[in-house]
Symmetry: C2
Subunit: 208 residues, 2 copies
């Protein structure tokens, strides 16, 4: 954290600038973020902003870190309050859908991974590392559901984590086409259909 | 098409500028596109580019139109060559995955719908209209599969179109995390799991 002033006032100023940077990045994308426009938005000089972030890339990394931290807190807190197994996995996905509802058109992390896929560098690496960590969280919830006997022991946790992720992406995308309520409803039905049953149940026999 | 010269040379020049604009937009996003940077890239004056597109928004709309046209051609041509029903639906999804493979980090239309979700205007409307048309194409393929008896008559074509779309989004996203080969492999397995069986089959009894 280049040049971060170690005073309370410095920390508060940095935090306020970063907050504004997150808002701006969610509107115009991480790549649209510049020290100049951010300085104008918070009513400071460019050099005043530089003192807190050192470079545009440091600023972009700080935006990624804060967004990822908020995403995980928003989703894992309600999930951890739910019963282990499928109830926890469902709570996690419901919280994810709620996050999408509250961040329409501005899911910075989802946009960023596509934006930086073909641009090697520190931003790309940071974004991918958060995606991998999040995939690990999904696999952890799925593993717990297997251990609890809510999912069959042969369930493929990598595949299911991919599928849960795809469902969330589908909901985010569909919100722009069909509205968020219908998108979430379809996402919930898809999740229900995708999760394998532990044993032969009526719904499995019906092939749904 | 404001100010489009009606000569062959004019058409060819416009086409060359638009080609470059599509490349740039796929790298920096539709919103990053400017007449100035495009003019510099094609070695023309700003007014020279303006003659062909009239405004930045006209240019952005032309980029959306050309990208959508290419996407549909790329995917529907191989699909229409396949047998009606599930073979055609599978061919469509395979062609979609191939498109994702060839457009890593640059699927303009997928990025754009999220980018413009909260910005009303002509660009938003154009993007949503293409998404709706594409959803209709998916539903048409699904309806054919139902009519052929490849999918059960009670299959929900809206829901299945949502799910096919979600799988493609999952593949695009996962390519940046796990690599395109693994992403496509998971997408194919997900599609296989998701498509309902016409009757009780072995795989339905196994609950997969």
């Amino acid at each position: 954290m280049t040049g971060l002033p170690a005073t309370n006032k410095g920390v508060a100023t940095r935090s306020a600038i970063l907050e504004r940077a997150c808002e701006m990045a969610s509107m115009i994308g991480l790549e649209g973020l510049s020290i100049g426009s951010l300085a104008a938005a918070v009513g400071m000089s460019k050099s005043g902003v530089f003192v807190h972030f050192g470079s545009r890339e440091e600023l972009q990394l700080a935006v990624i870190d804060l967004t990822a931290q908020r995403f995980v807190e928003h989703i894992l807190s309600p999930a951890l309050a739910a019963k282990r197994g499928l109830p926890r996995l469902h709570a996690l996905v419901r919280a994810w859908f709620a996050w999408i509802r509250n961040h329409r058109g501005s899911c910075l992390l989802l946009s960023a991974i596509v934006e930086y896929d073909d641009r090697p560098g520190a931003l790309h690496d940071r974004i991918v590392s958060y995606q991998l960590r999040w995939r690990d969280e999904l696999m952890r919830a799925i593993t717990l559901a297997i251990e609890c006997g809510d999912l069959p022991p042969e369930a493929d946790k990598h595949q299911l984590a991919f599928e849960v992720n795809a469902i969330a992406l589908g909901v985010q995308h569909d919100a722009a086409v069909s509205g968020i309520d219908e998108a979430i409803d379809r996402g919930e039905r898809m999740l229900e259909r995708m999760l394998p049953r532990r044993a032969v149940t009526q719904s499995a026999i019906r092939g749904t």
